[in-house]
């Protein structure tokens, strides 16, 4: 059992959790994830580690409540526990001194890009954070972002906060204004990562995406998370989760994420019905 020391709602759809896991808190590096199982009947699913505090032995996760498993986790209160927590898994994000690095994130990806930004700045880079959401209420971790990034750009689809438009609009402007970043990280919904990748491809800007494939064990054992990268099959859990965006077959990734849509719907209706 792993105790939740803090459960805080960030938006109507997202919850921040701090969970006791001292070893993981000590070891984790930017870009790594954990596998979670909330209760006895629960699924195993991956979540990116957002932050950790080795002194209190806790890790920070942000969960977006979309299906049964994420809702089960999001509804756990401070002081309650989850059954299983394993990690840190996956290769840490590779960080070097590149110069100016744009970190583009949407939705829950904003939480996931936060440790990457810290690592990038720690390596002496200028980190431009470009974060977006559908509307103002869904913008998360703005203060943390402002503190971590060298510059922060915010967009909302409806213009209720920051610039009206998409994160790619900001990246597009940067490129058009001649301030082409030396490297781009994109973390978030697949359509967003795909759009960023399409934008950087003609300029040959090295672009890294952190993939959120479906997983079961998260240790290479099952192959559920396989993804085509440069025409080769990779396992997101042990070969990733970061990959060269220009080599990723996003079409296949989108399709594979929809495998269980009918079952996910059925499961959620059953869960919400009780």
């Amino acid at each position: 059992m792993y105790r939740i020391t803090e459960s805080r709602r960030l938006t109507p759809e997202a919850v921040l959790l701090k969970i006791e896991a001292p070893r993981i808190a000590r070891k984790r590096k930017a870009g790594q994830f954990v596998i979670i199982r909330v209760d006895e009947t629960g699924e195993r699913f991956p979540l990116t580690i957002v932050d950790s505090d080795p002194s209190t032995g806790t890790i920070t996760l942000v969960v977006q409540e979309v299906g049964t498993s994420t809702k089960k986790l999001g509804r756990r209160r401070t002081g309650e526990s989850i059954l299983d927590l394993t990690g840190p898994l996956g290769h840490p994000t590779g960080v070097k001194k590149w110069g100016r690095v744009a970190c583009v994130a949407g939705g829950i990806g904003v939480a996931e890009v936060l440790p990457v930004i810290k690592a990038i700045r720690g390596a002496g880079n200028i980190a431009l954070a470009i974060i977006g959401a559908r509307t103002q209420d869904l913008i998360i971790l703005e203060d943390e972002m402002r503190e971590a990034a060298s510059e922060l750009y915010i967009t909302t689809d409806d213009g209720s906060y920051g610039r009206r438009g998409l994160v790619t609009d900001v990246l597009c402007d940067l490129i058009n204004n001649g301030s082409i970043p030396d490297r781009v990280f994109a973390i978030g919904p697949v359509p967003m990562m795909r759009a960023v990748t399409a934008l950087t491809r003609p300029y040959n800007i090295p672009t890294i995406v952190s993939l959120n494939a479906l997983m079961v064990d998260g240790t290479g054992m099952c192959g559920c998370c396989r993804v085509s990268v440069g025409g080769e099959t990779k396992f997101t859990c042990v070969d990733g989760p970061d990959f060269d965006a220009h080599q990723v077959d996003f079409e296949e990734l989108v399709q594979r994420q929809k495998i269980y849509l009918p079952q996910e719907k059925e499961s959620l209706q059953r869960y919400e019905g009780f």
């Binding site: 099952c222 594979r256 079952q263």
Partner: protein, 461 residues
């Protein structure tokens, strides 16, 4: 008059393909005594040499004959920590029963079924029998709670060592839990056998991926004097043919893990889903292929075919498993090789292209090599494929210990007699050292390594 070999009663095929309950029911006490009477109690007991964990077979059978079923179970447990499991999944026909003297003229003694009977008897009547040891011996870390790790841990505990097992998944058992289906090895049996290992004083920690959560170096620093690596063959192979990442193509590991470990057959009571195909193809000819095919039937498939590139004769699955699968209606398509999967516009599998094969000269495995017949392409439709062509060793732990000497195929190199790796204090055994093999071979390796560790710790004071 000679007593014929006793056969266990089984669930009828038409009935059992609608449930996940175990297929055979096991012997009644009368049957067990009758079967035990068949044993000739040979002085040289060739069966003993055929057992990787050195069970004193004539002795436990003699005790069953006398009606001392608990005594028989204790005799088994002297050398085998998981007898209820071995009695079910060991390929006895290739080991103890293969060399049984009775087998020369007729049918060998049903050693496996007798083992199962005695072990089940003990689990049912004396579930708490092993006593916890209050040992002060050196501490040993065992990585992986599968057959190799559990055996190594139990043997070390018996020698007086303080053992902690680190398991990556949320439940112990390794392949016994995630791989072998309920209908062949009930999870309750695995749970009780693991519980018995715990009662011997072995500590078990789940959710610990050694190499990620904790490194071998840290284990030594934390006071462990030796490490046994039994992390298994946990990286599924694919054929690298077009369309393999289509929706509806599973590795056997994923398919079986969803169903066995995550209980997807009870979806939506359990949250993990699994695709229930109507027309299912399973690629491969081993036990895992049989398990996958029989699982697909139980999940409601109308038609299940096993596609294997060689013939029935070369198939590595146990005869018993092939027989069970056929009884249940699984159709075998031998001498067939998939070359491409076809999908629809939404990325779902719709069928596959295959080549017909013929057998040529024997290859390094001694089996006749399958050769494609030119111009023999044909196409078949399906809505689910399970690829059961084997596993490679899991890379996570070797990756975390760069000094470890590795073999060509990602296996850890060991001295098979002691399990010693290239690094001081680190031992290994089972599939991580040999490549994918059987449960009992992994247990034999765990046993050898326990002895190796004992000698190492005695010598290093």
């Amino acid at each position: 008059m000679q007593i014929p070999r006793q056969h266990m009663a089984e669930q009828e095929p038409s009935e059992r393909i609608r449930n996940f309950n175990e297929v055979p029911f096991g012997y009644t006490p009368e049957q067990a005594k009758k079967e035990a009477e068949r044993c000739l109690q040979c002085k040289n007991a060739p069966c003993r040499d055929g057992c990787p964990v050195e069970v004193d077979i004539p002795a436990f059978i003699e005790l069953i004959k006398k009606g001392d079923f608990s005594g028989a179970a204790r005799k088994l447990k002297e050398t085998n920590s998981l007898p209820a499991i071995c009695g079910r999944v060991c390929p006895q026909e290739d080991q103890c029963e293969k060399v049984c003297v009775l087998g020369k003229k007729g049918e060998p003694v049903a050693i496996g079924t007798l083992e199962r009977f005695a072990a089940d008897w003990e689990l049912k009547h004396h579930p708490g029998s092993p006593s916890p040891s209050s040992s002060r011996g050196a501490r040993v870390a065992v990585i992986g709670a599968g057959p190799a790790g559990l055996t190594c841990a139990a043997d070390l505990a018996r020698m007086g060592y303080r053992v902690t097992i680190f398991e990556a998944l949320h439940q112990p058992g390794g392949v016994l839990t995630y791989g072998i289906p309920e209908f062949r090895l009930p999870k309750e049996i695995v749970k009780r056998e693991v519980e018995n290992v715990r009662k011997m004083g072995v500590e078990l920690k789940e959710d610990q991926v050694v190499g990620c959560t904790i490194s071998p170096e840290e284990l030594f620093r934390d006071g462990f004097r030796a490490i046994f690596i039994g992390t298994g063959a946990g990286l599924p192979r694919f054929m690298k043919i077009p369309g393999e990442n289509l929706n509806g193509v599973y590795s056997a590991n994923e398919y079986l893990t969803r169903v066995n470990l995550m209980k997807a057959y009870l979806f939506p009571q359990y949250d993990t889903p699994v695709i229930r195909g109507k027309k299912v193809f399973v690629i491969g000819g081993g036990n895992v292929a049989m398990d996958s095919a029989r699982t697909a039937l139980r999940l409601g498939a109308k038609e299940v075919r096993i596609i294997y590139r060689r013939t029935r004769k070369e198939a590595p699955a146990r005869r018993e498993e092939i027989h069970h699968a056929e009884e249940e209606g699984v159709v075998f398509k031998f001498l067939t090789l998939p070359v491409r999967y076809r999908g629809d516009e939404k990325g779902w599998i719709t069928g596959m292209e295959c080549l017909k094969m013929k057998l040529g000269e024997p290859d390094e495995s001694g089996r006749r090599r399958p050769i494609p017949i030119e111009g023999s392409e044909f196409s078949i439709e399906c809505d689910l494929v399970v690829v059961a062509i084997g596993n490679d060793p899991n890379p996570l732990l070797p990756r975390a210990v760069p000094g470890l000497k590795m073999g060509r195929k990602g296996t850890i190199e060991i001295d098979p007699a002691t399990g010693q790796t290239s690094m001081k204090g680190i031992f290994a055994g089972g599939d991580i050292a040999t490549g994918a093999a059987t449960v009992i071979e992994a247990m034999g390796a765990g046993k050898a390594a326990a002895r190796g560790i004992n000698i190492y710790l005695k010598l290093s004071g």
